[in-house]
Symmetry: C2
């Protein structure tokens, strides 16, 4: 029995026991009993309270032992210290799924944590799957089943599954949703996640036939890459929108390298969500607005939006919103414009936004919408509907709904106002057409549809693994041989060896332990050369004065060697100065940074961005999970100025983008292969003009702590 199958029992039990059912209506244990008994649940409900008696016409059993049969699901809402023995009893009785709604566990401190551990141990011993503790339970609006204590009516019935790490937020959202245009299929509050977490439950709510989109309120994820893989699998079939909170508590990473300083929880989540096809919302409201649009509308084939309006001002506002979301205004074909001309007054604007003027009738709205949907240059339509002065907004909505329901392009409607558009809103909601009071929310939802379409187009891309498997063994041997302690910086030779093993473009170089050796090495490889100190104790070599560039002859090399050593001996009397690398230099190119870092949650991440000393200040960087997909690699290059300017800009000639692509794929594979690497950073990678490749000018790496 797979995990998903066993967890399905939580939502489709034939019988439920409420342990802690209370006949006091101010108690939460009363609420749970009431919701199960009066909420339409079609199975058997058992109530347990040691005091016995009856509740809402149902017998109160004194204990779980006393039940006539083993229920499929137990909902436990009694003081924390009493939970472990009850769970033990449940296990013996044959219960295999339990929700511990009670608080008083890990969230309260070490004592509570011990209680929670005890519960988990008991559960695992008996094969019980646990939800909670410290949660408000779950709802299936279609069965229906409501194990929460929230006051009726339960959440509106619908097609959005909601998984949340915050019970209070679930309560607020259930209440708030009553005034919105969407409803829930399943809703689950996970609490402390002693056992079942968001990754476990995601496929379960997704598998429900009533679920058409999934919303997740996440404070973190338990499984890292496991979450990514699970979500990726689910997202291929059903859209996932997540709100990840706790941005302000971003992880405390060692900031020794630029990559390390710039990485962190936020970047890692972004990269993980992008790979998984999880759309990341910024607010609770946005999460549900997106989920509703995704659940009800077809996906667009492109990013071109047609705006239909009956007034200029709201049309301009809508156009601004479209642009702010990175979507484009569609250009209508001359044919469409001619057909619009035939049905609209002469003063109407036939360019996008199409302004049909204040006199626009329901028929004109519907006709124009049909023409827009038929235009091959239109991918999506936003209909703006301020209260029409001559007609009712409701009539306009009614005229458009049949077209929207049968369209193969997404349509969203913006009835602007309140009482004057209430009828229109009601019609649109009944017809499952996404509607918003303002164009910005509508544009944001269209952008979510477009991003999902874009992701689905690349969802099945394989991982890039350009390097043969043997490289990993070579690299592991090099890493093992390096004297760096856990968390320590690797010797430059080791880093160079790792990069070379993965076919990354390391320059010709040689180690020198005297000025004469340096000069001789330089003669062999040709000028100019660079000289870089070798020291395990100096991390920022160029900051410390341990790098000299552009040495043009042997004398210069020898002099630079002596001067550098003298300088460093004075500045860092404690540092071990082992010599210097003499390194081939390349003609000037575009300097970029390519790095990788191991995120504690999601594992290896690749970074790309503007190189040099200013990378941290400008923040022109992007991250992706390693290994990369082709789409990840494109994202790294196209979401950064460092990547875009590889195509050339003003007097900057085009650089060898293919060489950067190759370097990204190889470094990503290296980072994914080598568990013992905390971070590795090529800074800068010198990207030469098109066709001439790229050359690593400096790199460093650190062992995992």
């Amino acid at each position: 029995m797979s995990t998903s199958t066993s967890l399905e029992k939580f939502f489709t039990p034939r019988s439920v026991v409420v342990v802690g059912a209370s006949s006091d209506p101010t108690k939460l244990g009363y609420g749970v009993a009431r919701n199960l008994l009066e909420g339409g649940f079609p199975g058997t409900v058992y109530l347990v309270n040691p005091k016995g008696g009856a509740l809402l016409g149902h017998r109160l059993y004194p204990s779980v032992e006393a039940l006539p049969a083993a229920p499929d699901l137990a909902v436990i809402l009694i003081p924390a210290p009493a939970v472990p023995p009850v769970l033990e009893t449940c296990g013996r009785k044959g219960v295999r799924a339990a929700i511990i709604a009670s608080g008083g566990f890990r969230e309260t401190g070490p004592q509570g944590a011990a209680l929670e551990a005890a519960c988990l141990e008991i559960a695992q011993r008996h094969g019980i799957r646990l939800m909670g503790p410290n949660c408000i339970g779950l709802v299936d609006t279609h069965l229906p089943l409501d194990t929460t204590f929230l006051p009726p009516p339960g959440p509106p019935v619908g097609d959005i599954a909601f998984i949340t790490h915050s019970g209070a937020l679930a309560a607020a959202v259930i209440d708030w949703a009553r005034g919105q245009g969407f409803g829930f299929s399943r809703l689950v509050s996970l609490g402390n996640q002693a056992d079942v977490n968001e990754t476990d439950i995601l496929p379960v709510v997704a598998a429900d036939e009533h679920t058409r989109a999934i919303a997740m309120y996440l404070e973190s994820v338990g499984a890292g890459r496991g979450f990514v893989e699970t979500a990726r699998g689910v997202a291929r079939r059903k859209p996932i929108v997540a709100l990840k909170v706790g941005r302000t508590e971003a992880g405390q990473h060692a900031a020794a390298s630029h990559t390390g300083a710039l990485a962190g929880q936020e970047r890692a989540f972004e990269a993980a969500f992008r790979r998984a096809g999880v759309l990341r919302a910024n607010t609770v409201e946005q999460m549900f607005q997106w989920a509703h649009a995704l659940a009800s509308q077809p996906l667009p084939r492109g990013d071109r939006v047609l705006i239909l309006t009956n007034a200029g001002g709201p049309g301009v506002t809508a156009a601004d919103a479209i642009a702010a979301e990175g979507l484009r205004l569609a250009t209508l074909t001359p044919q469409t414009r001619q057909l619009l001309r035939d049905i609209l007054p002469p003063a109407a604007s036939l360019h996008n936004p199409v302004d049909m003027l204040a006199s626009a009738s329901p028929e004109q709205y519907a006709h124009a919408l049909r023409l827009g949907l038929d235009d091959p240059g239109v991918d999506m339509v936003m209909v703006i509907l301020p209260p029409p002065p001559m007609f009712s907004a409701g009539a306009v909505a009614r005229a458009m709904i049949p077209l929207i329901q049968t369209a193969d392009k997404p349509v969203v409607v913006v009835p602007m106002g309140d009482p004057l558009v209430a009828e229109a809103v009601a019609h649109l909601r009944a017809a499952r057409v996404p509607e918003y009071r303002f164009p910005e929310d509508a544009a944001s939802a269209l952008a979510a549809l477009y991003r999902r379409a874009q992701w689905l187009a690349v969802a099945d891309q394989p991982l890039l693994k350009p390097v043969a498997a043997e490289a990993a063994a070579t690299a592991r041997a090099l890493l093992a041989a390096d004297p760096a302690p856990p968390g320590g910086w690797l010797r430059p030779q080791t880093v160079r060896g790792l990069l070379a093993a993965y076919g990354l473009p390391t320059p010709q170089e040689a180690e020198a332990h005297s000025a004469a050796e340096a000069a001789a090495a330089a003669e062999r490889m040709g000028f100019p050369v660079a000289l870089k100190v070798i020291s395990p104790d100096i991390a920022h070599k160029s900051d410390a004065g341990g790098v000299v560039l552009g040495l043009e002859d042997a004398t210069a090399v020898a002099e630079a060697y002596e001067a550098m050593m003298a300088r460093l001996r004075e500045a860092f009397p404690q540092a071990r100065l082992e010599g210097a690398l003499v390194q081939q230099m390349a003609p000037p190119g575009q300097e970029v940074i390519v790095g990788a870092v191991r995120d504690p949650l999601f594992g290896p991440l690749v970074m790309f961005g503007s190189g040099g000393v200013e990378v941290e200040g400008l923040g022109d960087v992007a991250f992706a999970l390693a290994p990369l997909t082709p789409a990840d690699r494109t994202h790294l290059l196209e979401s950064t100025w460092a990547g875009r300017k590889l195509a050339g800009f003003r007097n900057l000639p085009p650089a060898d983008r293919a060489a950067v692509e190759e370097a990204l794929a190889r470094l990503a594979q290296l980072a994914a292969d080598l568990d013992d690497l905390a971070e590795i950073e090529i800074n800068p990678l010198n990207v030469l003009p098109e066709g001439q490749g790229a050359l690593i000018l400096d790199a460093r790496g650190r062992r995992r702590p």
Copy 2:
């Protein structure tokens, strides 16, 4: 009689005539008559319709001539071609204020524009101030007066004045506002603005005693600097929030310089609003949410926010929202934490966000709020209120309201939900406490309060004019003597002269017309030097190969001169090559760009940002109106990485920020003084280490077209 006084008549007429009053309830002319007659207007209403008869029990006069007296205000809603004669009659009758609500004017094409011009001519001849045409008129909710045709009830009564360029948006907002927590003092739709525009009407609505904040929906502004000055005057007394739409139609500027390419309508509006103290909202909803908070709450003394909540999840969401708005989480004093400990359960979190747990009672909410308000480390408070499981949200709101109303710090409340928090929302609205369904909107409103407080602190700063007045005469003479045609590039000598006249740090330089002259000049000023071609036909000198840097001796200078001329003769056979500048070079510093450009609407703007070739790609630039205030200058430096890194970063030593400040003030004064300059750009300005000044490495300027 000042403009404001004469325009006040629009809002406080003793008598109004409706020309085009219709007894057909489907006609807009009926709506206007109805709103005036039944909306409580305390003055006399005359109705005019050539057909005569009666309407709503009032006589319909056949013409304006036939009225027994001259009304203070005429509202005209008849077909456009009939408007001019009616306006003529109004003028003769003695009407001095008219609203032309009818459409069919400039917005429909040349014929309509001619009609509009005719109306304006008639109005000016008779001393009539005109509002519209093509507008929905105005409302004063307190008099009350409603000249619109919108269906009743009119807009909710309140303290926000609303000025709008879109009538449809006014209609939508009036309807929408009924479901929100705010109301209007005055509302005016300006239509085509043949006469009265947003700048004229702003002080009028601001002067109204009922107005406590002003919201503006702007498609542009008419008066440029006039708007800035008027708004700045108003904003000193009452807050202004504006939504400027049409971002996607940004102006088509000549993109010959970086400054020109990066300027444009958006940047100019940003700079103008910052100077004027107009808070720029991104959406209609945000505009009113901000205006409501500004109208009802005291301003904070700092940016430190305390979050009170009864649940962790919503608290984290709120903390994220605070951070996203650039505000800080307040740190409570140990004393406050001790006092909180005394009233809250042991498991409560006493750090910000203060999580009082689900059991938090109305008394605990109120007590904790009082402690927070008393803490000197708290500047503002956000109270998060998901439906409390044990208490009513309404009771919590009631307990807090007296504290909020008497607090000298702003407080906003976030009742999360719908029916379960409806009572709380109603209490808060009645008490004029800003309330939002989600923390993001609340954080955005707090940030608006903080930005207004920041602006007020610098609102009276004088303009920076460090250069003596004589410099302008010198510079004008130089400009006049330059052979550049309108729109043409000035000679480098002229640009250098302009900069020198304003005390900007130009390098030593000399013109040379042969290799020998160049070498001799270089010998005089010392090495290294740069060589830059002098040609009126080559704008991007370095792109074209017309700049050679770092020449270290006389031979190198002579060779470089010959080679450059040969190269340019071949590349640009048509270009006039007049010689080369030999220029002193400086030690390496931080390169920044300092530019100025003349915006068609707002006049001279100053730009500051990252210099070099990548300025356009990175977009690390900021703009301000010239001349600058000290606050503008700080903004330029602190909102850009180029400015922030002047303080030093990693191995980048601190640079001479004072020299940059001086250069900004001087270049701004230059740009403000010289009307005939289209743009001038120092790129780069080489900023030397602290105390060593800065040096202009290249500059160019263009005459106004």
